[in-house]
């Protein structure tokens, strides 16, 4: 049986889709069978970030409505043999996803994969609650910024009440992934520190992904950032996060700014 991960945040634009693709590729790179599932019906983007946008024939809604079988809708990644994508429908709305339909698809997928990673849409409506319904682990993607932290707090509350685990009296294993972390602003004191966010949300830390042009660049190419340039800082952060998901005990590195001489002087004076 697969482990089911939901990548969620409440707020839009914090890096859920980037994270889904990056963790999916990072886990598949270790040889595990991984499927990433786009729950953002009507506004799909995971196909684009994975570089599979021109190979979408059938989608999640087609499978739920019986117009296609699950294997027909799954797209195999061009780079990693054990990585698959189930795209969302672009032409329908969120009501096309039914609870029973989602249950059936997730059940089928979890029989054949080691990891099912659900990319949640922004918000707290139907699409988001369906995406988190089956979660064993929730990766709460948060930017060190007030509105993102607030929305993450809200999502944590929903994870504790509206998931299958919550209904059974169990709890979803929630992990914080801090993204778009800017070491320069943090050192200037203009960005919430990692400890601040951890204290406010009181979640265990899965990783810190630094703000980096590599993320945008990888998305331009349609390659998950974790495998685009494996030596880049965000790639290392995502690959480490994947190892932590697999149970490895690995200390989280707080990204540091590289200081020039003048920078060091400024910092001492500040």
């Amino acid at each position: 049986m697969a482990k089911i991960i939901t990548v969620t945040s409440g707020k839009g634009g914090v890096g859920k889709t980037t994270t889904t693709a990056a963790l999916g590729a990072a886990l598949a790179r270790t040889g595990d069978k991984v499927v990433v599932v786009d729950f953002d019906v009507g506004l799909r983007n995971l196909d684009l970030i994975m570089g599979a946008e021109r190979r979408v024939v059938y989608d999640f809604v087609n499978v739920i409505q019986g117009d296609a079988r699950l294997p027909q809708a799954l797209i195999k990644d061009k780079r990693l043999d054990s990585l698959f994508l189930l795209p969302a429908s672009q032409t329908r709305d969120k009501d096309a996803l039914t609870e029973e339909g989602v249950d059936k698809v997730i059940e089928d997928l979890s029989r054949h994969f080691d990891w099912v990673i659900c990319d949640s849409p922004a918000g707290i409506e139907r699409g988001a609650t369906l995406a988190m319904r089956h979660a064993d682990i929730a990766v709460v993607v948060t930017n060190p910024e007030v509105s993102s932290v607030r929305d993450s707090d809200r999502i944590v509350g929903i994870l504790d009440s509206k998931t299958l685990k919550a209904e059974r009296g169990e709890t979803v294993d929630k992990r914080l992934l801090l993204t778009r972390y800017d070491a320069v602003r943090a050192s200037r004191g203009d960005m919430l520190k990692t400890e601040d966010v951890l204290e406010i949300l009181s979640l265990p830390l899965l990783g810190i992904v630094p703000e980096s042009p590599d993320v945008l660049r990888a998305s331009n190419f349609g390659v998950p950032v974790s495998i685009h340039d494996p030596d880049s800082a965000p790639a290392r952060a995502y690959n480490d996060a994947a190892r932590r998901l697999k149970g490895e005990e690995l200390a989280v590195e707080v990204p540091k700014q590289k200081l020039g001489l003048f920078g060091k002087f400024l910092r001492r004076a500040a």
Partner: protein, 90 residues
Amino acid sequence: MTLWKRFFTNGSAPQARERLQILLSHERQVIGGDDLLSSLREDILAAVAKRVPCERDSVKVRLERGAPMSVLEIEVEIRGNVDLRMTQAA
């Protein structure tokens, strides 16, 4: 930001931290109470739906919390004109 300020302020993060702590402690209470409100809503919906057809979304329950007293506001929308005799008989 002037160079002076750049040297002698601690940055804006402590402000963000403090505002978030206050806001979230409040919101968590409200959301804790949200459970109370949603159970109340379910109870009211069940009671009303026994007599008149009524949809889930048409029951609104709000709680305005205050120091001397709180106000529980319940609003139920029922489609069309309600026949009083019919509803009593049903």
